[in-house]
Amino acid sequence: MKLRAALLGAVAVLGFAPAAFAERGADGEVKLTFPQAVSIVNPYLSGGTKDILAAAMVLEPLAVVDPDGVLVPRLAVEIPTMENGGISEDMTSITWKLQPGLLWSDGTPVTADDAVFTWQYCTHPEGGCSQATKYEGVASVEAVDASTIKVTFAAPKPNPYTAFVSGLSPLLQKAQFEACLGAAAPTCTDANNMPIGTGPFMVTGFTVNDTVSMTANPNYRDPAKPAFATAVIKGGGDAEGSARAVMETGEFDYAWNTQIPPDSQAAMAAAGKGQFVVAFGTLVERIEMNTTDPSPALPEGERATAKHPHPILSDIKVRTALSKAIDRTILVEVGYGAGGRPTCNVIPGPEAWASDNEGCIAQDMPGAMALLDEAGWTDSDGDGIRDKDGKKLSLLYQTTVNPIRQDFQALIKDWWTELGVEVELKAIDPGVFFGGDPGSPDTFQKFYADVEMYANNSDNPDPETYLGQYQCKNAPSPETQWQGENINRFCDPAYDALHAELTQTTDIAKRQEIAKKLNDMVTKDSMTVIPLVHRGTLSAHSNSLGGVQINAWDMETWNVADWFRVK
């Protein structure tokens, strides 16, 4: 009786019921395809979304985030809050209750010890756990009893929903991973590729960087789910090919990350076999301004460091003019179609956290020209390029190799040329650009260019960590081996102070207000970051696949248990 109540509760909480209460495995096979193949099914040893998407079908956290950015319990009975006593008064601990009767796919019971072990696994100093930030500030995890997990923080934590929340930090089975702690973690090939989980599916076959085969978990807590008996994830190829396999040939049911040109989207949708779905998280394509001088004339070690402010971009009028000259609506139309929308914010969502800053959406070419004139940049020698004190207004604009980014580069170059700015373009292999190799001059952290374009996002609806990137101390420099997230080298003591206040604030409304202020400080107030497009994740599913609820706040496969075949 108790079990049934819990199950009914779970169904009610998920707020979604398949059209017919079919029995488990009645709908045959569901086939997914990813442009990048799955390398490993252990999210703690991989940072790639492709791997975690597959893992989320097998491994489950205590709670997940739904498409609206709201926490919903998964393995937990309910979300602990201050009101229900789950979070201590001083905010130094959070206590989770496991649902009764939970079983791993091998039939053994899930206990609080598994959670304790998961914490130990990820925080082991030699383990190289990629989700270590999820457990940052956690002093200890204890099993109060077999079904109660108490997470204690070293300091009061206003946002305690990090450990064991979302597909990024699911529970591992202690029995399976016990021998895989620390340095031994990568050697447990079988466990890493076929982890035992509580999710709707379990891995039965795994070929590295190619295919993951799964069957329904016989011990899944809802006897009617999943509707599919087996699942296959095939990886490799490109976004184009994945989209085609769902939308045109109908070989697959679901394709993740099908970012293709808007024209092709329309043509594929016209085939009538499937549809594109999009979800907006916090991913923003932006142009970052270099506040330091990247001139190759400077000695190595001083180039692009705070010692030498940027000769052109240090002037806020120039930065503002560059932003005003861009028509973001055209960018969206050319590059993303339904998969994007213009934005002026670094934090474009969730709604409650996003600033109402929309001043940049309308292009203002005359305004931009006036600003440059005002700043003293005029075309004195009549060659079409503005200059000041004998120095030309010339910028190097770099990004990664990617067809959409190259289109953006071409368009923005045209606008800036209209403005009288000379622009040199550069495209870099993404592996080098994002690789962070301190020996390479082309990494985005080194920023040996005047402006650069890429996309970044917050992996948590609460942007505290994300906004922390722009603190002075996070600027990459030779002293930090060029590591650091504040790639603009933006440094404002007022910003640091306000961010420190955010980490202390617990009232949610107050936090949102501070976050908006911080967002405005790096965007419209200082024009250090020029946001361009709020990008969604665009995926495709066939018309015969039901129950898909695309989710930008957690893994897209978060509700794969509810997927079913439309008959």
Binding site: G47, F433, F434
Partner: protein, 335 residues
């Protein structure tokens, strides 16, 4: 010939050692890091710890010596163990991929069959198409057949596989719906139906690659045949009253095969190396796709091992080509 072969085999050992060192240094020197595919949301200190866990922060020569030991001792010992149930490699660390943390040789083992069936078939098909076309084009130079063959070859190698592959997908998969676009690597051929399925899914990649291979090989065959057609010995043979068939297929063909053998032998290692673009396009999980994926992720152990195996094959097949020269033209001597 035997001493020549033995000497070449012995010489191959230092050559391969030098090649392996050069590859290792090259891959290590190349910009990029195993962390390049990790999302930006993972902070630098966590990245640093992940690199340490991989052992990627060790000095390059330490890693090279470790790799040598793993490649030449641990992996063979492991193979020996799995055959005879011994425990030679007990507790030894195998070569692990940084990207997937799986043993590199397991991955190669999973992928080699696909590579050999798909790429090997394409190569064979290419040769089988190319040789007759090349021979007949040369025999009837400037005939309609020859012009047609030339056009076919030109299109074949001026159109890159990324283009012809996509074109085939659109025509045969999207419009006609004959073949699947994605290769199902889990398919086991057990009966007639699954065999047909296998043939169907091989059709597009084999067509794409076969076209490119046939184009190049047929050109070499044709030009070499043309060179020999005008030789004195051909005139002599004809004068002796031999049939055209004997003259062309026995005398001219045999003497024309030297450059063709070189081209074919040069190509065989590339069967193992796979075809990067075609494999990626059709989702064939071959060695080529593994290599390019590993290069993009700076997965040094994987790149190093694959490149080295590739080097061994190249050295081996060049040796085989040299031995074949001796058979095709007894005048060539190496000793």
């Amino acid at each position: 010939m035997l001493t020549f072969t033995l000497r070449r085999l012995l010489l191959a050992i230092p050559t391969l050692l030098v090649i392996s060192l050069v590859i290792f240094l090259l891959v290590d020197l190349a910009p990029g890091s195993p962390m390049s595919e990790i999302p930006l949301t993972v902070p630098p200190d966590v990245r640093q710890r992940m690199i340490e866990a991989l052992g990627a922060d060790q000095p390059v020569f330490v890693r090279y010596v470790l790799w040598l030991r793993q490649f030449f001792w641990v992996e063979p010992a492991y193979l020996f163990d799995s055959w005879f149930g011994t425990t030679l490699a007990e507790g030894e660390q195998r070569i692990l991929s940084w990207q997937s943390r799986s043993p590199v040789f397991t991955i190669i083992g999973q992928r080699l069959p696909q590579t050999l069936t798909v790429i090997g078939t394409a190569y064979l098909v290419g040769i089988l198409i190319a040789l007759p076309i090349g021979i007949y084009s040369a025999y009837r130079q400037y005939s309609l057949f020859d012009q047609g063959g030339t056009l076919f070859a030109m299109i074949g190698f001026s159109v890159p596989t990324f283009f012809s592959g996509t074109l085939f997908i659109i025509i045969f998969a999207v419009w006609l719906g004959w073949f699947p676009t994605k290769y199902d690597t889990q398919l086991n051929v057990t009966d007639w139906d699954s065999f047909v399925k296998q043939i169907k899914q091989m059709a597009l990649p084999v067509m794409t690659l076969g076209l490119a291979n046939a184009a190049a090989i047929s050109r070499y065959m044709r030009s070499s045949m043309l060179d020999n057609m005008t030789m004195d010995y051909v005139r002599t043979a004809r004068a002796k009253g031999m049939s055209e068939r004997t003259v062309v297929l026995k005398h001219v063909l045999r003497n024309s095969l030297i450059p063709v053998v070189t081209v074919i032998a040069l190509g065989i290692p590339s069967i193992f190396g796979g075809a990067i673009i075609t494999e990626n396009l059709f989702g064939v999980n071959g060695i080529g796709a593994a290599l390019i994926g590993a290069i993009h992720a700076s997965d040094l152990p994987m790149v190093q091992t694959l490149a080295f195996i590739f080097a061994v094959l190249i050295v081996l097949f060049n040796l085989i080509a040299d031995i074949l020269y001796g058979f095709l033209d007894p005048r060539i001597r190496y000793d």
